[in-house]
Symmetry: D2
Subunit: 377 residues, 4 copies
């Protein structure tokens, strides 16, 4: 359904009580979305806008004064987008849906805007369902947030392009360190638990990467066609090498030796650190001088670049239009160049991934001259 | 036609002589495109890659040593994308097509890559036609360059998003100057001769703009519904005001009092400066403290952000694929999310413009609370 | 007198009423100083801290609600240093001293901190004198602010190093524009009405400047040893040239043809623009492609770099120590590496200038290979 | 001895063979110094300038083609200062002095410029002594390089202010992460093995630090007056906390449990990581959400800010003046505001340290409200 303002609105703006919550890890643009939601709500005439503190926890852990929701106004949010982070605070992890819905009922919320990832959208959906069951009028609208850009159907997620810009800075530093040492190796670990979009785009954009490892493709370290032999060849040719590793890459190697958590899921191991150790040992004859950089929190805490700022503004506007149009249990996003409203379930069915046979990955391989890694050359 | 590598190639790479030329004003990404063209040509096996100096002039004004083409190699271009500008140099203005084609013939060029705007694409087309007439095998491939983002059919042009990022910095400075003075007015003139895309996007992204004037919409200064009265109201409410003016805005006002050039075209007047004068006079009772910023050359000289860097790389790759596929007289770009080859004539028939009735302009007006300016309120 | 905390303090902190005012043009660091004054006052135990709006005007033009002083607290100022400008607002120009002192008396201020340049320090001195005459206990403490770094006795003024950093960015853009055009000339006008410190330091630091013109040295344009002939030689050798002009340079040339104001002082003419015109005419055979950049407001509106941030913090702390020590009519600064309190009159007797025969100017000339300009070669 | 050009020079410039070597870890400004040395040597008339690859190793490990010295010219170095790192490459660790002197003799070097830290200055001194013993005319000039700013007698070392600027960025990210989480703790590890200058200045400049730990002061973790109790109090008051730890801090705690290397020196442990673990355990009731950032390589790989760029230029100029003046075995630096030549031994006798009883540390404690940590409150 195409997003945008509607002719009829289903709420009397002056009486609407709205709330905004940000969930999960930081991502550039949270404040931009909060700001535009607030401004657009005020434009409609809404005066009662609450900012829930520290994610869903803010609904059911309201002990101290600081945990009370913030009253949001356009004056308060005027320049919050100039800084990264979330002025509301955020937190990972869920909670009991009925506790949240109790709090929503107590606050008599008409609108709830949930800015979060797959897990939080699942939470939003559960909240929406329970509101329907209890005959509450609350419209629950999601705004998809994942710095990894791994949400199905969407052209991209907000903050992703900014994250790429910032990851490039780390890669650039790694490249300078690498070039300034004999057989210098710059090793950068970037975000991307299940999807390698940040690694792929930052590697391509930086123009300074020799090896890019992503979760979607099993990593072959050993053998003539493996990563280690490739790094050795790059060092021989250029005397330095730059490697980008998405945090979810190489887990199949470590998984065999790693732990699983209570639910049996493999705990994400630090494969970049493992690769560092492997290179030190198995390329010892090259004496590689390895510099490891993990820019994760410096990326997450950034304010948005222009393109993401525009995107966040439009997501914020359209989320408010959706609520006034009487929609609930939907999310908003850019899909094939159009802003649309989407039902939540298909979006969160699984993570969007880089296609190892797709054009984009082919382009990266061409640009950085990376072979398909395999045990034989 | 979908862009990308082809199964059959129509040239023997080891014998190919290629040349690259950059035309017109600077735009972030020129070096990125030059770099990727060079790297991709080398990947195909091309060894003879010439960089023509200072635009089309480099073809027919080869006097001094410095004007000789640069021999481009992947080593030479390795890090040129880290700096703005064009390592080849650029120049505005055309030249006699037959002189250029004579030079192409003398150099025995198989490929010519023209990175330039509408005028240069018209030049590329004329070169292509004359090459066909003379039965020369030269493939002429365009790569559209316009910082204004005003090329028809394309989703965007390279450098545009970077330009928006940089324009935002100027707007931010203007906003700080405005807020720090009583009735402070920050006035920023941004690029956009015929199209207001930079102004619109930067105004929306910055979140600090009160008035945005673009060439596509005639500007009404006077009257209760005019710009001056709106600025007065903003000052009364907030004690400061930020205005963004695309360079082509308001020409219909100045045109009446301005000059025309030899061809009868109106010479672009500095409307932002005119507006400054008007505000000083007609808002004299507010004593507006106006700070004028023109960031044009600081924007044009920037290196690319991540998103533009990726775009430039893919344009460069696809331009080379096109040449090897035997195409000529085409240009490459992103169209509805796909990289495609396009014939030149429809692209350059006129400038792409912001639709004053479109969604994007509506979203901007909502976000910055700008009315439709008209003589009556 | 060495600055710092004293053993005895002459005020009872809990009863102190303090006010802060920022005067004149913007300069990086105003918010840093306001912030540290506030934090240090609170540390001493002061609770009543007023921020006067828009310079000295805020004392006697208190009409609307917005003009009322802001109540400053450490919570309010916590992150104001992250943005440029002054949260209090500033304004140029003085006012009647007795009006200001009336307002001070009415507010029963014990401390007044005046952040401003030579003019504002003269104002602070007059206020201090009148307070003494009226037997008011108010301690008036100055904090010297001039982006031009032109205050006598001080090692440097806050914001200056940041200004140099930002001016370098403009020079870098100018250099890229210059290199990317045939006979490209990048022309940058930087701050410096009477003193060329910003021009000199930015030219030296950027490593990309060929000509640096400052107010302290009369400019010779014509003749074999003049600027124009030098630019021609640089163009012949390098095909591009970068010129930095302090705003006060070349006034002796324009003064002859320029206006004087009511007091007979020459109004500062835009010599950089004049030089642009001269080069177009007198180097017409080179067809110089001149790009003019004036980064003034983008420089002034910047937040501080680390070194200036430290400096501002220490100025703020020491200003508060001075007030509690019972001093008045003094200013604080870094002098030969030590933080000291200084009487105002010697500081403001004239502008500090670059010594044309000094080491620093010699070093610049060596680094950029600039001759002494004179009519004969 | 005051630095600068001399009336008499002791070498015939046209016959001088000079070499430059960069040693140790990266530091902002290496390329600036290399550049200015080259430019100044050329100004004197020197044509034979060699850049030794990868530190002292480049003297005795000249196997492959890439290890051959680079021929340095002002054209080659024109823009190298725009990027961080060292175009020569660098390496840690020494080598046999006689091997190096053999290589110097074979190259017939008249000048050797050694850009390095304490160890490399000791090396330079040994080289100088052996050259004297062998009656070689080689002038050996040091340029002190340590990002930690820990060289005795000098006002500061080049790259330090840039390092502070960059460290602040990491602190800012940590502060945003901290504020955006409930009981969020931003933990930043910055450089400073023996001296806490970077930590102290970055903490003061950032204005966002609550705790700053440096090597000069033993760290008390436990007890009512310890760091952990202070962090708990900060969390209770503000719900977030930002901590900066110099890499050499807290070693006295870890040393008891840590290893010593072959020489008996304690290997530097990662105290910041230890502190993270301690906080998780001992503040478990607060559930601190700790984000750890180590920006080391992103700081080291930076290009200089303006102030450091000026400093590097003047060091480069003065080092060349020293060599031509016939000095050897000296180093150059800024001392009480003057550029001087200094004998090497006193400089490297020990590391310069922050004075725990000095004014600067007092100012920091006042600014960030940090108590003296001790077991009892």
């Amino acid at each position: 359904m195409r997003a945008g303002p509607r002719e009829s609105i289903y709420f009397e703006p002056g009486k609407v009580k709205a709330a905004i919550v940000t969930c999960g890890g930081l991502c550039p643009g949270l404040n931009d979305v909060i700001r535009q939601l607030t401004i657009t709500l005020e434009e409609y005439g809404v005066n009662d806008i609450k900012g829930i503190r520290y994610g869903f926890r803010g609904f059911f852990e309201q002990e101290g004064e600081l945990r009370q929701p913030i009253k949001l106004t356009s004056d308060l949010v005027e320049t919050i987008h100039l800084e990264g982070g979330s002025i509301l605070g955020s937190s990972r992890g869920g909670s009991d849906t009925s506790d949240i819905v109790d709090a929503i009922a107590e606050m008599q919320l008409d609108f709830l805007f949930v800015i979060g990832g797959n897990g939080s959208h699942a939470g939003a959906l559960a909240i929406d369902n329970m509101c329907r069951e209890r005959n509450m009028p609350t419209a629950v609208i999601g705004i998809p947030k994942t710095i990894d850009n791994d949400i199905l159907l969407l052209d991209r997620t907000f903050g992703f392009q900014t994250a790429v810009d910032e990851a490039i800075k780390a890669i650039r530093s790694a490249a300078i360190e690498a070039r300034s040492a004999f057989n210098g190796v710059g090793l950068v670990r970037v975000m991307g638990r299940q999807s390698g979009f940040i690694a792929m785009h930052a590697a391509l954009a930086s123009g300074e990467v020799d090896v890019c490892l992503i979760p979607e493709i099993d990593t072959t370290l050993e053998g003539q066609g493996g990563v280690l032999a490739h790094v050795r060849r790059v060092l021989t040719r250029k005397e330095h090498c730059v490697i980008v590793v998405a945090e979810g890459a190489g887990q199949e190697i470590l998984g065999k030796m790693g732990e699983t958590d209570a639910s049996g899921n493999p705990v994400l191991q630090n494969f970049a650190k493992f690769l560092q150790k492997e290179m030190k040992e198995k390329l010892a004859d090259c004496s590689p001088d390895i510099k490891y950089i993990d820019p994760t929190y410096m990326v997450r805490a950034c304010p948005t670049n222009g393109s993401d700022a525009v995107y966040c503004s439009l997501l914020g506007q359209n989320a408010v239009h959706a609520a006034f149009a009487g929609l609930s249990g939907v999310t908003v996003g850019l899909c094939n160049g159009h802003y649309v409203y989407l039902p939540i379930p298909p979006l969160i069915s699984r993570a969007r991934e880089v296609d190892p046979n797709g054009r984009m990955w082919e382009r990266l391989k061409l640009a950085i001259q990376q072979p398909v890694f395999s045990a034989s050359a």
